[in-house]
């Protein structure tokens, strides 16, 4: 059951260009959390910015009651988030939404674009616990936008990097690296989160090779609980009904969504 909790910030620090990690204690939310779910965070007592900000559960350690967020500063809300210091209280609602389906004893690939890596660390933790062979592919523009590699290697999984400028790992598109990484061995399942054109390429590849999987979508949100009907989206253009990303998602099957390919 989701709840509203005042978390206590343990640490909040920069880990890359505009990229921050915040750890806080929120035992109630941590105990209920599943990979792929998110929290809706209020930024102080302000009436401006007014709305909460949805952020994925980057990592959760239920026993310690600890939640970690990975966020990129893109506007005023995330800027304010970066000003929280340790010991400060943070107003969080969660866990919200439906998380990823967790497969067992499979060979799975996790593909994160940019800060879209956020929901994939907690997912890795849970997949490893379910005896899956996990490979994580992360693509960014440059090496200073990568998250802490140690967090993945600590879980004993392969973490491969692609950067557009070649400053780290494979030089070029994450989706090109994906093809090379996936070719040699059969893949049972794909999880992905990132920019839509990237996920679109992943979904196309998966469908060509008959691999099923799931992706995570974003939409502007107000309530985060299905009450305002603000985060609506048609999964396919021909659909008549709208899904609510906050309640019906943010996770959907790879083949259920018609993604933006980025071309205009």
């Amino acid at each position: 059951m989701p709840l509203a909790e005042k978390g206590t910030v343990i640490s909040n620090h920069q880990t890359g260009r505009d990229l921050w990690e915040m750890e806080f204690l929120a035992p109630g939310i941590a105990a209920e959390s599943k990979p792929g779910q998110f929290v809706n965070v209020r930024l102080g007592d302000y009436s401006d910015p007014l709305l909460r900000r949805p952020l994925s559960l980057y990592d959760v350690e239920p026993d310690a009651g600890r939640i970690t967020l990975l966020y990129k500063i893109v506007g005023r809300g995330t800027q304010l988030l970066s000003r929280y210091g340790s010991g400060q209280l943070i107003d969080v609602m969660g866990p919200l939404g439906l998380g990823f389906d967790l497969v067992q004893n499979r060979r799975v690939i996790l593909i994160g674009g940019g800060v879209g890596i956020a929901p994939l660390l907690f997912l890795t933790r849970e997949l490893v616990a379910r005896h899956n062979e996990v490979i994580v592919l992360h693509g960014t523009g440059s090496s200073d936008e990568l998250c802490s590699q140690g967090r993945f290697s600590k879980l004993g999984v392969e973490y491969k990097v692609a950067t557009m400028d070649g400053s780290s790992g494979y030089k070029g598109l994450l989706t090109d690296m994906m093809k090379e990484a996936l070719e040699p061995l059969p893949t049972d399942y794909i999880y992905t989160c990132g920019p839509e054109p990237m996920m679109s390429a992943v979904a196309a590849y998966a469908s060509q090779h008959g691999i099923s999987g799931q992706l995570s979508l974003e939409e502007h949100m107000a309530c985060g609980v299905g009450a305002c009907l603000g985060c609506a989206r048609k999964l396919k253009e021909t659909d008549t009904a709208y899904v609510k990303i906050c309640k019906d998602g943010p996770v959907f099957p790879l083949d259920a969504v018609q993604l933006s390919t980025g071309g205009s």
Partner: protein
């Protein structure tokens, strides 16, 4: 008199034109779904009244995305009245609210006067609803899409038509997108309204300069939140002075101080909309905050404060 005995004498309930609320705080239509959505966060039976999502005769799938956008101290929304239709509401969503003893106010929207009448007839036949709020900020299909709520004659017609179908308290919800709110309020009273709800959202828009397009799929949307509070207070103040009907006041309320402003400007009860998104337990917090204020001021009830600031 000691604190305890005085507290026992305090009565926080309100009577809004025949609609009884255990406390003066309602949650506004479209911001609280059918109550269930917030159930994990708040005991909905402790809210003065839950005004459920706007309901139409037939199912509506709503407006294209994006539907919401944050603005300074507020937000724009263009949901487009997405709802499953009146029958599904009455048969599927209402029963559990009744079971939980929630004071439910239905909120209805029609394309024609007849549709408002038909919706009210269906609601009237169905036990468990405490009152009907009329969303008259909808386009009138028969009159070329002009909003019902901007024309006094149409407002009177709609209210009359609804009153003839139901004995439940009828509460027209006034649109602020008019030049003379008092004439609209008078028309609603002349049509037989039992109370007035005000205000609905202010029409607005936002532009995406990268795409050089309106942000919202629907181009225009309704502005809500603290940004509209001064406008709401002004309109409530004007109507309170001129029209003798209880007012359910709202627009940007986030805390007890805001609620007190509305009550002192003439509202008998308050509604919280956007505030629920910011703080899911705000309705309960404000109800308690108002009670505390009444106690501290040595009053017997909230009624003593209604219109206290009106000169």
């Amino acid at each position: 008199m000691n604190e305890e005995t005085r507290e026992n004498l305090i009565d926080m309930s309100v009577n809004l034109g025949g609609l009884k609320m255990q406390n003066p705080v309602a949650v506004a239509s479209g911001t609280f779904g059918y109550g269930r959505e917030y159930q994990d966060f708040i005991d909905i039976s402790r809210i003065g009244a839950v005004i459920v999502k706007g309901t139409t005769l037939e199912e509506r799938c709503g407006n294209p995305a994006p539907r919401i956008y944050e603005t300074p101290a507020g937000m724009l929304n263009a949901i487009g009245l997405e709802n499953p239709g009146i029958d599904v509401f009455l048969n599927v969503y209402l029963p559990s609210l009744i079971e939980d003893r929630v004071t439910v106010i239905a909120n209805i929207a029609g394309n024609t006067v007849d549709e408002y009448a038909l919706l009210s007839r269906k609601i009237d036949k169905h036990p468990g609803i405490a009152g009907i709020e009329l969303n008259i900020s909808c386009p009138n299909v028969k009159q070329g899409g002009m909003q019902f709520g901007t024309d006094p004659d149409l407002v009177k017609q709609v209210v009359e038509a609804v009153k003839s179908e139901t004995s439940l308290p009828v509460i027209p919800k006034l649109s602020p997108n008019v030049t003379d709110i008092v004439s609209i309020a008078r028309a609603a009273r002349d049509g037989g309204a039992d109370a007035l709800s005000m205000i609905n959202t202010l029409m607005g828009m936002a532009v995406d300069i990268d795409r050089r397009k309106p942000v919202l799929g629907n181009i225009f949307g309704g502005l809500s939140g603290p940004a509209i509070k001064p406008v709401a207070l002004r309109m409530i103040y004007q109507v309170y002075k001129e029209v003798d009907l209880p007012i359910l006041g709202g627009g940007g309320i986030l805390n007890t101080r805001d609620a007190l402003e509305f009550i002192m400007a003439g509202a008998s009860a308050v509604s919280i909309g956007t505030g629920n998104f910011v703080n899911p337990v705000v309705a309960e917090e404000i109800a308690l905050g108002l009670e505390k204020y009444v106690t501290e001021q040595g009053l017997t009830g909230i009624n003593e404060l209604v219109g206290a600031a009106v000169l």
